[in-house]
Symmetry: C3
Subunit: 423 residues, 3 copies
């Protein structure tokens, strides 16, 4: 078979051959080839080999507090029903009737006694078992026709799903070490104070690459920068001590002093920084916010009460990336959960959930969302312009700055999912 024919197939079938050649052409320290961002075959491969195999947060437990509460999570072409069946169980099912394939739930959320398909009224229990199907042949077995399960795991309030057909990577081995941090913040009992969607016309990798570097913060995010020490963004913007040596040296004493102070208030101190050959490329990073600020609001004053097990305000923040698809920023009084969900080659859902302490009685939503609402709108514009520029046949992979090291790590991790290493 000629090289020419191979390429034809790749275009159509989205096999891994295209990835192999593209990976071979990729140089470490440079942005990716345009096909990684624009090609339907690459997106199909991404869905199969990356998105389809990771534990991805679909939402927070606060959306399904009561039995029968459900919401739909859409990813790629899939619609997943996340539903609570009893006090201790949250299930995830593919939203496809076993009869003729109709969507079962058509509203984005609700509370139901059963999952009943609106078409022919096939009715499933909250555990997915088929309960009622009229007039079926005698040899039809209800027990063989329950809803198809999607892997699901609730961990400190976060509902993770995994689209893998086979057994997915072990959850506890992957995320277990995060427990003390999540526990301290009280995420299991947190509640959603606000949520907002910023659907973005860009490939999911552009959205991740944008989020994992702060090289663009100075030029693009004045509100964000106003809440942080300038030296922190340079020194820690791309990961712990990732910035130029002198910037790190300048900021490190501040962090160390804060760590001691925060630890005194009971806060677990530590860092998680997965290498590119890890399964989920997690990052947990804690640092100070702007001096004199108690939280990430316009004036630094709190928007809610202290979250979790906190004994006092410590002027710190935690950034936690569960995976490139799920990001979390936690201040003392609220946290923002970012879900980056691939839908098609050049469309990605970006959904933000603002979480507050489960017992918080007064939340100033407007002040709480000020920073990340502005910043995410800016990021939407930035990444859409990035995608538009990459459509040009004159786009060439460009050199990364020292401030974008974590973008390189992400690309290494991404190519490793296809068995390729960055040269």
């Amino acid at each position: 078979m000629s090289q020419r024919q191979m390429r034809v197939e790749d275009k159509v079938m989205g096999d891994s051959g295209v990835m192999e050649r593209l990976a071979a052409d990729t140089k470490i320290g440079y942005s990716l080839d345009r096909r990684f961002y624009c090609d339907d075959a690459v997106f199909a491969a991404d869905m199969q080999r990356v998105v389809g195999r990771k534990w991805i947060v679909a939402g927070h437990i606060d959306r399904v507090r009561h039995k029968g509460d459900y919401f739909l999570f859409r990813i790629g072409d899939e619609s997943i029903i996340i539903v609570r069946s009893d006090e201790s169980t949250v299930n995830a099912f593919y939203n496809v009737c076993r009869h003729r394939g109709s969507l079962i739930c058509t509203k984005p959320q609700g509370r139901v006694a059963r999952l009943t398909c609106g078409y022919h009224a096939w009715s499933y229990g909250l555990d997915g078992a088929l309960l009622a199907a009229r007039l079926m042949p005698d040899d039809f077995e209800k027990k063989d026709n329950g809803l198809q399960r999607c892997h699901v795991r609730v961990f400190h309030g976060f509902i993770f799903i995994n689209l893998a057909d086979e057994a997915p990577v072990d959850f506890d081995a992957t995320f277990g070490d995060l427990a003390p941090y999540l526990d301290f913040h009280g995420f299991a009992n947190a509640k959603i104070a606000h949520s907002q969607s910023y659907p973005t016309s860009a490939n999911w990798k552009l959205i991740v690459e944008n989020f994992v570097e702060c090289y663009h913060c100075v030029s693009a995010h004045p509100e964000f920068c106003s809440m942080h020490p300038a030296e922190a963004l340079v020194a820690f913007g791309a990961g712990p001590s990732s910035g130029p040596a002198e910037a790190v040296e300048k900021y490190l004493p501040t962090v160390r002093a804060w760590e001691a102070r925060a630890a005194g208030l009971g806060r677990p101190i530590g860092t998680v920084d997965d290498p590119p050959d890890s399964t989920h490329l997690r990052l947990l990073l804690q640092r100070t916010i702007r001096e004199g600020y108690e939280t990430e609001t316009q004036d630094g004053r709190p928007a809610s009460s202290l979250m979790g097990k906190r004994a006092g305000w410590d002027q710190g923040r935690m950034y936690l990336s569960f995976s490139p698809f799920t990001q979390l920023v936690a201040t003392n009084d609220f946290a923002v959960l970012f879900l980056f969900t691939p839908r098609s080659t050049m469309h990605t859902d970006v959904d933000l959930y603002w979480l507050v302490d489960g017992k918080a009685s007064e939340v100033d939503v407007k002040r709480m969302i000020w920073g990340w609402d502005q910043t995410t709108k800016q990021d939407k514009e930035i990444t859409e312009n990035n995608q538009a520029g990459i459509l040009s046949k004159h786009y060439r992979p460009g050199r990364y700055s020292e401030h974008e090291r974590r973008v390189v790590s992400f690309q290494q991790w991404y190519l490793a999912q296809f068995g390729h290493a960055l040269a």
Copy 2:
């Protein structure tokens, strides 16, 4: 050539190889593979082998009563001009100028003396002959440049077209036996009292499959059910005596008694039930409506006067499927013509025409359309949800109920168009 390459070709060319493999994977009694509903190659094959070879109703003669009256019928990528050229002739032409290919008629309907292209004013007679074309070379022959004809046949008021390039299946041999029924209802002289469009984002086969079963009526169509005996929907919903034996036994005496009564009023009694290896899979089925009702309206009272040759109200209804693309429901005082017209893989035009007796003077349109307007809106929602669910990679062909036998017949008929039998 490897199997891999074959599949690439299928994807692109829409040849019959893809149909062969898909047909081989189809099991009788189960819904079809997702590619039948989502794949552009399958749709191209459908247009060529199924849609392109059947007699399909494009409209009713009432739309072209006078010389020069025309309307456009759009099917797939084609626009067809249906135009009356004289008292006894209705023509169908492809709406493509023989000069440079422009649409000739651009308004959906009208009355014209000639068919004149708005671009360079080439002008055709109502019989398609090229009458005027300025400044053409000497060897240009007008007689070779008439409009391209589409096969057309008017039968009891219904305008059938056939897109076949070659001679289509014989019309009279196919539909001749329906004459007595159509004549009794007076369709040749009927008039259109109302029409409405319900364009639906679903593959045409989903729309047909939905229409030929009443398993979903109880859950999805309260208005429709209110006008019918519950036992009739179970016993006759999927064809004459198609329901479970006990339901048929329960309802059959009612039908038989009605047949005797209706025959007494001059109504032709009988059934047509084409097998899956027929060319058009016709079905003609007559039965009673809800007891005490005279017609299919909310309160059962008439919305118009008696249609056709009726001597009195007989509380019956006729369901007539000319083909999967053309459905007809006739009560005593009005009939509803359903046109299901494939436009693209996941878009189908659904157009309803309410017909009344040609001499009807007072028609209560609102009451007349109540049932089928509601029902068709519900069907649009149902089939769009069905299509959306089938997009999931987790859709699996599901088992049919006993109430969906005619869906199975439709699938057998459909696959037979490609020379395949359901295993």
Copy 3:
């Protein structure tokens, strides 16, 4: 490799094989095969072999009068920044940041001191040199990371760009002989009095084919016809003396008399009529407008003052086609520049600029645009109907009239770009 496989590749890759087969099927004097107008592979080939190698006008110098003035020109998937860097220099750059590929300019026009990317603030001079990029590795060379240039040439006020990767065809050898005509009209100092966009859902070739023939003028353009001698449209509509012999004979004396009169007023008289094997298929044609009219307005009265070096009103007009993509019509007091810019297979930007003398103080915009605004709206409708008709599988290449000779020339020229001759 079988013929079948070849075609699969063509569909996907847009190589020149498809063009070869299509060209072989094309007959001189007939409209083109539908694939030329509808097929993405053909469009990709067009962009590479035709659009990508021609000098195409992107706009008039009046848009970038002052240092830092810029506008964006979009063609295919490309966005080009046209920007003035000093009094004597206009540059054209691909609007793609060398860092990560973002669009640099996102507003359609403006005035800037530098070209600064909104993403990470990489900043380029007006000459494209990279001036600022923070925190880059030591071995990063700014001089290797300037903006990518697009070939650009300003000629008598018209800004030509050329997307060729290699050295494009020599500009002066191609257009130099037009200088006297352009100079007389004063285009270098003209100003834009009005501009308007008419984006058209049709392949670019349909738009060109429509513009280069006046066979449709009588039926489609009453306003246009009202401003011209009927015999001129027949005799000269498809090029100098292109009409039927008797029409030419009838009109020629009028033109000759006008030429003498106009020459007396200092106007350069002459004709340019490139053959189909030329690089740009230029046409320059001068003739009279309607008797008694001074310009192309509804009542023939001027809408502005005399353009350029004119000594008096001469009742003539110049039609100048720089290439199929750039057309110009000049009356005594204003000129209309037509830019036909391919964007995708069935979408073309159509942008009109009305130019007046640089010293014109009072311009009656409403009266000036009356003719071409109406005419271009009509052309948009005509070509969109043409495209819609060609989608039909029953479209067949049709015979051209004697009045469409220049469409044939265009097609010969077009196929010659792929190395094919019309049989």
